[in-house]
Symmetry: C2
Subunit: 442 residues, 2 copies
């Protein structure tokens, strides 16, 4: 390097130059994939996932130029912010009151959606891994009980169903599932750790985690219900530009943080923030000619959300499908995962598209992988609970349930329109409807 080059490098090479190039590649890949999906009458999120799978697996074909995307902390960060924005946006499309109306259905769906897959996962383990201990079988059950709602939320949004009762039941159930899944995982892990060390897990430990989860849900909802109107009324007095958007995002980020600190997924907080905010809270802003929050979020989500799905696609290692020893367990596990969540539809009271609810609960996404990862780090008598080949089978199950959901949900929603639509759900209309329709509840 010559002297002027050194000086130039020291002066001006922006530390994020590499990251912005990767961002440009991801954005273009996402839109190319989305275009392909739309042409094939699929939700564009499927195209973004496939674009990610291609970018992430070109190394198998000898081209590793896109590998930096997978390793980039910047892209990972944007993906994580993206999914928060997505869940916030989806939460904004419903109100707490509307969620309450489907509360019982959501609770039933969540309970069945944890219990049945847990039992099926246990049975699959007992059947195909007869030599393993019952702890391994229980852990497989826990892995199947998780629900990852990002994909479903995005498909419902892509197809204009975000404001339907079906969407509210699925999203409400997913929030409850997140809490239940956490409890199941904590209990199963606790039992295994206790068995390994000869100690025993106390009921107090279980109670503690249950109490924390309940405290967050009830506390944040109650507090937000009381505080959100006051907060936004106060904010409406601020004269700087973009106050509504900034305060809305700050509210979303603060609840995401709170939710994560308490041990729940950050997206639960983002969704709760959206739920708590209602149009009336920021009517002061809209009355003076500013855009509504949904309309302001649209470009931000269109910028950031694709990072999440492309990254999720990239983490799909196609080599997992190449191991015949793994594929047997993977296939049965996948069937159990799908069948287990279909049982949810039996828990729904009439009048809604039950099939779609069952399908909407299917994707395991990253939550299943996180569970399996924990399983690999837990040991019993020196052996990991989840062996590498079982882990690969779980990965295949997660990939298949994730990739199957967009086309399956798209098919089931078109098959039977909602019986009691709260809003008419034509695809084009929802692009702008969110910003103009007011919540019609009293």
């Amino acid at each position: 390097m010559t002297v002027p080059e050194q000086a130039a490098a020291a002066t001006h090479t922006d530390p994020i130059a590499g990251a912005v190039l990767l961002m440009a590649i991801v954005l273009v890949a996402a839109k190319l994939g989305g275009d392909l999906a739309v042409r094939l009458r699929q939700p564009s999120v499927l195209g973004e996932l496939v674009a990610g799978v291609i970018l992430g697996n070109l190394a198998l074909a000898g081209f590793d130029g896109f590998e930096p995307i997978e390793d980039s902390p910047a892209i990972d960060f944007l993906a994580r912010i993206g999914v928060l924005i997505l869940l916030f946006e989806v939460g904004l499309e419903s109100t707490v009151r509307q969620m309450m109306r489907v509360g019982l259905s959501a609770l039933l769906v969540a309970l069945v959606g944890v219990a049945v897959p847990f039992a099926l996962g246990w049975l699959v383990g007992a059947w195909l891994l007869p030599d393993a201990s019952s702890h391994v079988h229980a852990f497989l059950g826990a892995t199947l009980s998780a629900t990852s709602v990002g994909i479903t939320a995005r498909v419902l949004k892509d197809l204009g169903w975000s404001q339907s009762d079906e969407a509210r039941i699925i999203l409400g159930a997913a929030v409850i599932d997140d809490v239940l899944g956490l409890v199941v995982l904590a209990v199963v892990s606790g039992v295994i750790v206790a068995a390994d060390s000869g100690a025993s897990m106390s009921y107090g430990d279980i109670g503690l985690i249950l109490g924390k989860a309940a405290a967050f849900l009830v506390g944040s909802l109650a507090l937000g219900f009381l505080l959100a109107p006051k907060l936004f009324h106060l904010a409406s007095h601020l004269r700087a530009r973009g106050v509504l958007l900034a305060v809305g995002l700050a509210f979303c980020f603060a609840l995401s943080w709170l939710s994560s600190v308490i041990g729940l997924a950050a997206i639960v907080g983002a969704f709760a923030a959206g739920l708590l905010l209602e149009n009336v809270h920021y009517r002061d802003f809209v009355d003076r000619g500013e855009h509504g929050l949904e309309e302001l979020l649209e470009p931000i989500s269109s910028f950031l959300v694709p990072f999440f799905f492309v990254v999720m696609g990239m983490r799909t290692d196609l080599r997992s499908f190449a191991d015949p020893g793994v594929l047997g367990l993977a296939g049965v596990l996948t069937l159990a995962a799908i069948a287990g969540k279909q049982a949810c539809s039996l828990a729904v009271r009439g009048g809604v598209n039950r099939l779609s609810i069952g399908i909407g609960m299917v994707p395991r996404g990253e939550v299943g992988l996180i569970f399996a990862n924990i399983g690999m780090s837990l040991t019993l008598a020196g052996e990991p609970i989840i062996s590498p080949s079982v882990y690969s089978a779980v990965v295949v199950m997660v990939i298949v349930t994730t990739m199957l959901t967009p086309p399956a949900l798209s098919w089931s929603l078109s098959r039977r329109p909602p019986a009691e639509p709260t809003e008419p759900p034509p695809v084009e209309a929802t692009m702008t409807a969110a910003a103009t329709t007011e919540d019609e509840d009293p």
Copy 2:
């Protein structure tokens, strides 16, 4: 930590939970500061800077709860993306043709704006640091020659002047200054390194850096001029939602990367990308009812740009002002920095608000700090070229020129309206005008 807490931490604690809390704090602080500034009839960017100064210096008052913001790579990343988005947005408000019209003025302003501050900085060094070598004096001159255009771009935008000839001259000159400043720095550093090692700097080295800079400017502008219309016409055939925004951002990011790779500031690329894109390039999108690019960028910039200015404020260490030994040099250096750029106004041909152009060129921002940092790392006979106390004086100069610009520019712009406004510049109108007005050039 109990077992369920471990499991909970492993399962769900989002790695970005801490970052999103910091983001919420920055957003709220930015808007509170912006509100205060607007109430005092100042551009809101001044309020964001002051909010940053307060967050960054509360530790002096014994409260260090905000220090993680300054150390957060996530916040730093968002700030860097924010300034790219800002310059892209400002670039979008002008066309290459409009820039060409003020090209000669911009070139003259840039040349004077590098030469006069360089000479003044040298003289200040010779006067106040008579014992130091002439290399130190030259380096002080180089530090004064830099221009940091982020602040000025934002003030012009806040006040609705982005589409004026004054804005185009300042921004055009800043781009050229960036190239010239780089050459000055490279030459001065090269001479010092050569003097230190006994070698000598070749004209070839100087020619190389000049050539690279010229190649980028001419090459990217020519290529973009030819390719941008084709690129966006192609993209308009994609059916996924948000294609215009994604492709526009990808174009901005790709040019930022290119510009950084070539050794220029990334913001030069972002600005060039905005300049190259014209409304006609994405008329296909707007014709089918999508929003224009400016309108889509507005919420994204309103989300990300404040991070840049709050971070810039946070990096202001108020303790620099407490050292009386530093303040003398700092004061004279600041006067030289301001006076040197005022000479620019003499280079402008008639009919525009000359005073504002001189003031708009004043801020040194982070570019001055980067120069000074390089000076600290260069040694001559074992001594750093820029001693710690000289560095502190440079920091004070950067702070004062940066903080003075928003109120000064606001005052000078209100004092004399533009003689030949290309667009009427009322403050409210520009919020939406960018999206609806078409470029009227043939």
